[in-house]
């Protein structure tokens, strides 16, 4: 029997994961003892505190870590990439707390909801640090399972259940593919650690590796909701409670894309010419599919879901470039995108609560003038999603295009430009609905709920991030650069 050596555990590095996880336990336990009336407030407070604390911990780690290293027997990495992604996830979580505080469904499931939200964020924080195929798989399952439940948490609503079941089936299928791919990669290289895979590639069986790479790519693409692996996205986004949708759109995308970048760049630098081209094709498919399908949507949530598919395309574009500029572009883009996603869904949630019905372009009429701040913010988000200033996605797109152009794939940037032009139509449709259409009679079935200061604060924070990321771009880009500095990008 081998000598047993207990691994040293870097508690500090794990702190974002542990804080949120601990918070989840506290909420879960407390909800057993606390009277129902205070559960919601307590849970939300704990969640908010934990998100702030975890985010702060991640910031502190980011500041402290000049270089990255594997910890706990190299199972996960402690590096700036992971820490930046954790900050984003925690930020999205914090905003989601504000958005979901008054969500009607929260009354019954108060404790569990906050616990699951915290756990999901925790899982993502773990996932983005994953450093081998096993932690990758486990992290993925960890937060996926949380999201399955969160999607279906309003168990009396069939759409939510349907969405949850679909998510689970497709998600498990994707996991199985990822697993099988991992097995093949493991077999080809004899290793599960990313760096070891990269090191073992040379001698390994290339064909196994390539087949495994294809499967891993599909598994990750599924999570990032890139076409053609995206088809669950609209249904799940539409069926899930709106704040959860916002969280998924923001945090899941951050986690999936950061990990995609990490896996492809650290584990498969040798197969660069395969996955970059494959990603380019996936980018085109996502842009086309997402934008075209969004064009004919009536439900705003569903439209935003398709929009998130198209943004998956834009976000994968810099990864496809495979260069350092691309890494920067991805992380910078994610900063603005995640804030704006939460914000956009938050505004949808407000209207949804007013109407007690799904929000469509038709029943948005007049909303912009009734609630000028939220309407204005939504307009900003929509213009921002198009890629217009003054929202940060504008610069994100510039960087993404710059990355592919630097790689010599100007055509890909042009494809992006064309589909951006198409996307104008539906984004602008929301603004048109809010501000330019006469208000239909008697739409407000849900009455006029009291102003939700927390939600408004969340939206305001989203706006600040969205605009601020453009105005003070330089520090953020430095941060993004630092985050990807250590990655061995295959393209010069």
């Amino acid at each position: 029997m081998d000598e047993f050596t207990a691994p040293t555990i870097d508690w500090a590095a794990l702190s974002p994961v542990l804080i949120t996880l601990g918070g989840a336990s506290v909420v879960l336990l407390a909800s057993l003892f606390l009277p129902p009336g205070v559960r919601r407030g307590f849970g939300a407070a704990v969640a908010a505190v934990c998100f702030v604390a975890a985010g702060a911990a991640a910031v502190a780690l980011f500041a402290a870590d000049e270089t990255g290293r594997g910890i706990v027997s190299d199972a996960i990495r402690r590096d700036r990439l992971a820490e930046l992604a954790q900050v984003l996830v925690m930020g999205a979580g914090l905003l989601t707390v504000g958005v979901s505080y008054r969500e009607p469904d929260r009354v019954e499931r108060a404790g569990e909801y906050w616990a699951l939200l915290l756990t999901a964020a925790s899982g993502m924080a773990f996932f983005v640090a994953a450093n081998n195929l096993m932690t990758l798989f486990l992290g993925l399952e960890w937060f996926s399972i949380c999201l399955y439940v969160l999607t279906a948490i309003a168990v009396e609503r069939l759409p939510g259940l349907e969405a949850g079941l679909k998510y689970l089936i497709v998600g498990s299928f994707g996991s199985a593919i990822l697993l099988f791919g991992s097995a093949l990669v493991y077999g080809a290289t004899g290793a599960i650690g990313f760096e070891e895979i990269a090191a073992g590639t040379a001698e390994g069986e290339r064909l196994f590796l390539v087949a495994g790479l294809a499967m891993v790519l599909v598994g990750l693409g599924f999570k990032a909701s890139a076409a053609p692996f995206h088809m669950w996205t609209p249904d799940v986004y539409e069926g899930a409670p709106t704040p959860v949708t916002g969280f998924m759109a923001a945090a899941t995308k951050v986690a999936a894309l950061v990990v995609t970048l990490r896996v492809l760049v650290t584990a498969f630098p040798g197969e660069e010419e395969l996955w970059t081209v494959a990603l380019a094709v996936i980018v085109c498919a996502s842009l086309a599919w997402g934008n075209l399908a969004a064009l004919v949507q009536v439900s705003v949530k569903r439209m935003l879901a398709y929009s998130s598919i198209s943004h998956a395309g834009f976000l994968l574009m810099p990864i496809a470039a495979g260069n350092e500029l691309g890494g920067r572009a991805l992380l910078y883009y994610l900063i603005a995108y995640s804030a704006m996603s939460v914000g956009a869904f938050a505004v949808v949630a407000v209207r949804e609560r007013e109407l007690a019905a799904p929000v469509t372009l038709g029943n948005l009429a007049g909303f912009g003038w009734e609630r000028p701040f939220l309407g204005g913010s939504m307009a900003l988000f929509m213009f921002g999603f198009i890629g217009l200033p003054p929202a940060g996605i504008f610069l994100g797109k510039i960087y993404a295009f710059a990355a592919v152009i630097e790689r010599g794939w100007t055509w890909l940037a042009i494809v992006g430009a064309i589909f951006t032009a198409i996307s104008i139509y539906y984004y602008v449709g929301v603004i048109r609905a809010m501000f330019m259409q006469p208000r239909e009679l008697a739409v407000a079935a849900g009455g006029s709920p009291p102003p939700d200061r927390l939600l408004v604060a969340s939206v305001a924070a989203s706006v600040v991030v969205a605009v601020g990321s453009l105005l003070v771009a330089d520090p953020l880009i430095d941060i993004a650069r630092d985050a990807v500095a250590f990655l061995p990008f295959p393209v010069g």
Partner: protein, 472 residues
């Protein structure tokens, strides 16, 4: 520094208005007008201190925005952009004044958007960094979209979609071109190497955006609807100022930075612009409504300006720049007049109009004066500009100038038709007898534009002499 103030002053005014919804429409309007006039005054101050002899950008600022791609907040005014900024200030002040007087619903938001638009437009003229240029370029779009979409006419929704999709399709290609150009040069600084080269594709990327926005024939599909459905003062700014940003793009970026491709594409561009000139004139001649005539005449005039630019010689450039200022003032005045006419007759259909000159001498005088300057009667500043433009075109090939000369005749035809259809002959069925002459406020808004045109007619060299020739 001054340039920054010119950009930020209206933006700051817009922000104040945006976050002060408790202001009464009157207070908001007064404030907006004050800001617009302050901008104008500041521009005059800047122009007085301007050193017209020196070639580089002046009164600028340079602050790093993000260093890794060498993108910075670089602004500054060339002598040619100074004039366009002035045009912006004048036209916007008139538009704000008109909007204030007309009393738009939600005046605060409305005027703040107009002011924001002004800041963005000045930014376009002042940007010395390609990315910054693009930011301002797109920033113009948002207020315009809302202004037309919310306060426009009955067909506004379709018009806005067309407008936005068209212009964005062009400008996104420009974005790709800008990035490619910046990466090639390693910097986006327009005053240094950025964007200079011989790449046809990059040139075409720029040209796509400018051709749509100008618009060059046949990329004007958005134009008639947008001009017809906008509130008149927005149409005034749109056709008077915003279209000039596109001409400016050709003038300051596409042609001088890419001389080789511009040379290669000169003939196709001239062909399109010539067709557009005649085509716009002919359609203006047959347009059924006041705005239609002005809109298509705008198309024709912009194509004329492009002819001057593509001629790519001193005469053409000088004339084009002068005509940009002229046409800005002219079409602003004409659209405001169209608004005044529509307010009185509640329609712009020419068959329902007529005979408005009787008892309305001020309206008649102002409309006729603007109209004859618009048709470039010899002696007007528009004539001076067209003369230079066509002279420049003549130097490239006599055929272009002949087409331009034909268009001069057509311009006389459509402008006189407009003037007559509104003012002359029998009183139109839609013209109520009690419709007033131009009110003092309207005169106060429109007359400065016309006076500026008359002053320029006396002394067009005020502008043409103050071009250092840095471009040529």
């Amino acid at each position: 520094m001054e340039t920054t103030v010119l950009i930020l002053l209206p933006v700051a005014g817009a922000v104040v208005l945006w976050f002060a919804p408790w202001l009464t429409p009157r207070a908001a309007g007064g404030f907006a007008l004050l800001v617009a006039l302050a901008e104008l005054a500041f521009w005059i101050g800047t122009a007085l201190n301007f050193d017209f002899g020196s070639p580089g950008p002046q009164a600028g600022a340079d602050r790093v925005w993000f260093a890794d791609l060498d993108v910075a907040y670089r602004v500054g005014l060339h002598d040619y952009s100074l004039w366009l900024v002035g045009l912006t200030a004048v036209a916007t002040a008139a538009a704000v004044g008109y909007g204030f007087w007309v009393g738009r619903e939600r005046a605060g938001v409305y005027l703040s958007l107009l002011l924001f638009l002004e800041g963005a437009t000045v930014g376009v003229f002042a940007a010395q960094d390609l990315v910054l240029f693009y930011v301002f370029w797109e920033a113009m779009l948002i207020p315009l979209y809302v202004l037309i979409g919310v306060w426009g006419g009955p067909g506004r929704l379709g018009a806005t979609v067309k407008f936005v999709v068209y212009t964005m399709a062009g400008s996104l290609l420009m974005l790709v071109a800008i990035i490619a150009a910046g990466l090639q040069a390693g910097t986006f600084d327009m005053t240094s190497a950025a964007g200079r080269g011989s790449s046809t594709w990059i040139f075409l990327g720029f040209a796509a955006a400018f051709a749509v926005k100008a618009p060059l024939f046949p990329f004007h599909g958005w134009l008639p609807d947008a001009y017809r459905e906008s509130p008149p003062e927005v149409a005034a700014v749109l056709s008077g100022v915003i279209s000039k940003t596109a001409a400016y793009g050709f003038l300051a970026i596409a042609i001088p930075f890419y001389p080789g491709p511009a040379e290669d594409w000169r003939v196709p561009a001239l062909v399109l612009a010539s067709i557009g000139l005649v085509y716009g004139s002919l359609l203006a001649f047959r347009a059924p409504d006041v705005r239609g005539v002005v809109a298509y005449s705008s198309l024709a005039q912009m194509n004329l300006i492009l002819i001057g630019l593509f001629a790519a010689n001193t005469s053409g450039y000088t004339g084009a720049l002068l005509q940009m200022v002229n046409h800005g003032l002219i079409s602003a005045a004409l659209f405001l007049l169209a608004g005044a006419i529509e307010r009185r007759a509640s329609t712009g259909q020419l068959v329902l109009l007529g005979g408005m000159a009787r008892g309305r001498p001020v309206l008649a005088t102002v409309l006729i004066t603007t109209g004859v300057i618009a048709l470039a009667v010899p002696g007007s500043s528009a004539f001076a500009a067209e003369f230079l433009v066509l002279n420049g075109a003549f130097a490239v090939g006599w055929g272009w100038a002949v087409v331009g000369a034909i268009a001069i005749v057509l311009a006389a035809m459509y402008m006189l038709r407009l003037v007559s259809a509104v003012l002359h002959e029998n009183v139109g069925s839609a013209v109520p007898a009690e419709a007033l002459d131009l009110r003092p406020a309207e005169v106060g808004v429109i007359a400065p534009l016309v006076v500026a045109l008359l002053a320029l007619s006396f002394w067009p060299a005020a502008i043409t002499d103050r071009l250092s020739g840095a471009l040529f």
